[in-house]
Symmetry: C2
Subunit: 573 residues, 2 copies
Amino acid sequence: MDIQTKVVELARRRGIFWPSYEIYGGVGGLYDIGPVGVKIKNKIVDLWRKFFIKDHSDFVVEIETPIITPYKVLEASGHVENFTDPIVECTKCHNVYRADHLVEEFAKINAEGLSPSELDKIIREKGIKCPKCGGELGEVRLFNLLFETNIGPYSGNKGFLRPETAQGMFTSFKRVFEAYRQKLPLGIAQVGRVGRNEISPRQGLIRMREFTIMEIEFFFDPESNIEPPFERLGNLTVNILRGEDKVKGIGRPTSYKLDEVVKEKIVINPWMAYWIGVATKFVNALGISNIYFEEKLPHERAHYSKQTFDQIAVIGDEKVEISGHAYRSDYDLSRHMKYSGQDLTVFKKYDSPKVVKKKSVIIKKDLLVKEGKDFLKDFVQFVQNKSSDEIAEMVKRGEKFNGKDISLYVEITEREEKVSGEHIIPHVVEPSFGVERCLYLTVLNAYKEKEGRIVLALPKYLAPYDVAVFPLLEKEELIKKAKEVYDMLKEKYDVIYDDSGSIGKRYARVDEIGVPYSVTVDPMTLSDSTVTIRDRDTWGQIRVKIEDLMVVLDKLFKGEDFNKLGKVINNNE
Amino acid sequence: MDIQTKVVELARRRGIFWPSYEIYGGVGGLYDIGPVGVKIKNKIVDLWRKFFIKDHSDFVVEIETPIITPYKVLEASGHVENFTDPIVECTKCHNVYRADHLVEEFAKINAEGLSPSELDKIIREKGIKCPKCGGELGEVRLFNLLFETNIGPYSGNKGFLRPETAQGMFTSFKRVFEAYRQKLPLGIAQVGRVGRNEISPRQGLIRMREFTIMEIEFFFDPESNIEPPFERLGNLTVNILRGEDKVKGIGRPTSYKLDEVVKEKIVINPWMAYWIGVATKFVNALGISNIYFEEKLPHERAHYSKQTFDQIAVIGDEKVEISGHAYRSDYDLSRHMKYSGQDLTVFKKYDSPKVVKKKSVIIKKDLLVKEGKDFLKDFVQFVQNKSSDEIAEMVKRGEKFNGKDISLYVEITEREEKVSGEHIIPHVVEPSFGVERCLYLTVLNAYKEKEGRIVLALPKYLAPYDVAVFPLLEKEELIKKAKEVYDMLKEKYDVIYDDSGSIGKRYARVDEIGVPYSVTVDPMTLSDSTVTIRDRDTWGQIRVKIEDLMVVLDKLFKGEDFNKLGKVINNNE
């Protein structure tokens, strides 16, 4: 069994995740997160909130917007037109396939971003047939991945499930901007569900039809001299596989210092580089250390992006995209301005008012009249759609109108005007994480085997429970004491209590879900008020007084040395 | 302006909530939760998790299941058939209305639960016309409130957005039961989004097309002698308006002690009474003290419920349902067993094996053969679909087959068998809260006016920020010091910093979003390292040393007397 199969089996057995609606045969791409999974997942979301929102509470806020989205919004965003995958249907058995995946599988080429006609050509040339029945494949066409629905009782009032939370931040940008700081930069974060109607989802939590996104739309003034707070990240090195290297056939990323990434414009916007730095630290905190950022080539990018990096987590032989970083520029706000007719600009006040020179044009009507009525009329028509600057330019160049010098008939004056600021459309960079992918990769990365048994070596702060409490034997006085210890610990910690089965089985059970410490009440406890603490990773045990238990656990969670905090005991479980 | 209008205005201005997609004119029933609203909402959800899950971690777990639900699941649950509202369309202007609401408005009667034909009759009798254009109304018909969509690339693969999270718990019940305790009772909780395609949602956060539910499906054995842990609730009194009182025209609830509610079977199931007790404590913790439970009459209940109570919050003149409590019995699991063909029963082990008498039937073939081949064949066919008990009964009653005593051809023997348990379908009670309603009612209840200014007197643990930090004036040395204080406090507290505008305006701003305490750095701070703390509700101020600030705030959040924790100062802001 490969590790992924083992993790999926463990996840099902121990309540981490499993396919939804199993009793009805399941639905591709839909997964339940079980009791243990929800606890890990919620801790991952909290950790993300810490890194991305709380540590940036001076300019990032969180909002929540609906999943149901009216047609117009996703038309404006370009998703109605562009959020598509190429599909092809077998003319015989009518199975539907992702055309690019078929081409990649059977023609062994990278088909990302190829057009339907290009894919079609390859299918014909290579003679690719239906993998299921061998039948002839139909024409490649685009399938829109938006889940469609109808809003309200009137038919024809189309809506969709959002494919990203981002549009909620764009459509409410002005409201948040006004209610909050009225200053740029402003990050608007959201954690919420999205739907993508994948053709044939298969890879477990990696490609789902419904999942949870945590993302920030980060609005800033590209002309501003406000620098990202790189000092919060310390000296950080990031691994990047650049687009220009990919084109050369290089497949391995290169290490760069973060300031080098900015200076050399490897990432074209400093704020995007900053969030790439934060993302590096966050993914490391999930316990995943082997990561890099892959720049997408122009035809691999989404329609709204000027530059995109995928953050890739490498676990064993697996490479999985754990986050995406897109420079959406002013694409979305501009489109929503156009489609809604609303002003989504922000007034940017200059530090001090600027003096601008403005030109005015005076038409010498008396001279024009002398040239005849028609000439007058034509001349006025000629100048009226031109700006004062344009006319001044024409005069400067000595241009003529109907053979006469324009300068004869106009007078250019110049005056100074004070301007206090200007209206700008903010630019946006977007760091975006899939929560279930984070959960899956965290669990996959934590999966260890020790002497033929499974240990989920999660970082302690991501463990579903902090501590387990067991009576050694199912005896009344031990159970009573163990429940006292449980009640004491649960004031501060997330504790699981279990008294059924052998102690060895119970240790194995909590090892499998990653509980860092187990506290056991045994017959000795009744005489000297001591308990044992067992370490998940080493299986070592120490014995401590119940009255010291809280302090000892506190120290353990702070990372102090296990064997120095109590009497080390041998144990043959 | 009434208080609801004032709250909606405040919510929009201060980033608590506002209609979604405003720049496109909005969509009825969809709301954004803003930066301040998300913070309050997340604290409400955490509080619910504490009361309902954490305080019951011995038998309640949380899971997460998809919003997208296949057709079959909601067919089994009865929603495809029953999740409807009566609508009527104007034949002239084609506006669509809730028929029951029209009847209630124009005929002044309670129309809840009336059938389309009953509503139709009233509309004709009372001559109710289209309220908008005066046109003739069409026939009343049922409109299904499920948002419909299609899953995957094959058309006809219908799915819906779930209207409740409950079906996720029913379809995954067996998996959770096996991965977790393998014991009843077992509560499965979920917090997640649902969609209900309301005809004409109007009441802000009260009736939304998409909202967040937090609910528990609580599975138990109705025959078990495991009692709910009423001792965890203390001596609790609940207000109940009983169905039998409603029928008598009584509109006011009566106070009962919780044990009386159980003993007198006012609530027919003790577990439902228990969760009603927990719900009382939870809603009180939101700051809302005036609540009661209204029993729904049979025709007012959902199709799956044997008894239902709505928890009603009374705020001023407003009565709003804040939670629902339904006794779903074994309805859902039984239906899913039928529709999926899967066994969703739970094996209930007896405390000690029971001895059951089992009957066996021996057919006397030799005697039957003598009656001829056809008689033998017919007789075998006659008995083969009957249980041993049925045949024994027939023999006892002296019944005949083709004119002959059945007893002639069979021998009934009886033997004793030890049975260790039986398969049962658990029963379910469901406490269910709407999160946005909780948010709205919490804010509405906290809304106060003081000297013409707004104060949001939220319980401290629900406030969006714990503390605000201000420099008195926009001077560099004060800003520097204030940021030091901010950095110190944010290690422990959720802190907001603000240095723009007059100090009076800044106090007003944080009063409006309910921040309990403001810490101000003023010129005196620079000489003696003291700051002022201002109380949101009294506007009183004390002066404390910066080094004592953490300890003082700690005591304030524990409820100690404000004026005893520092030097009380007069202040004319």
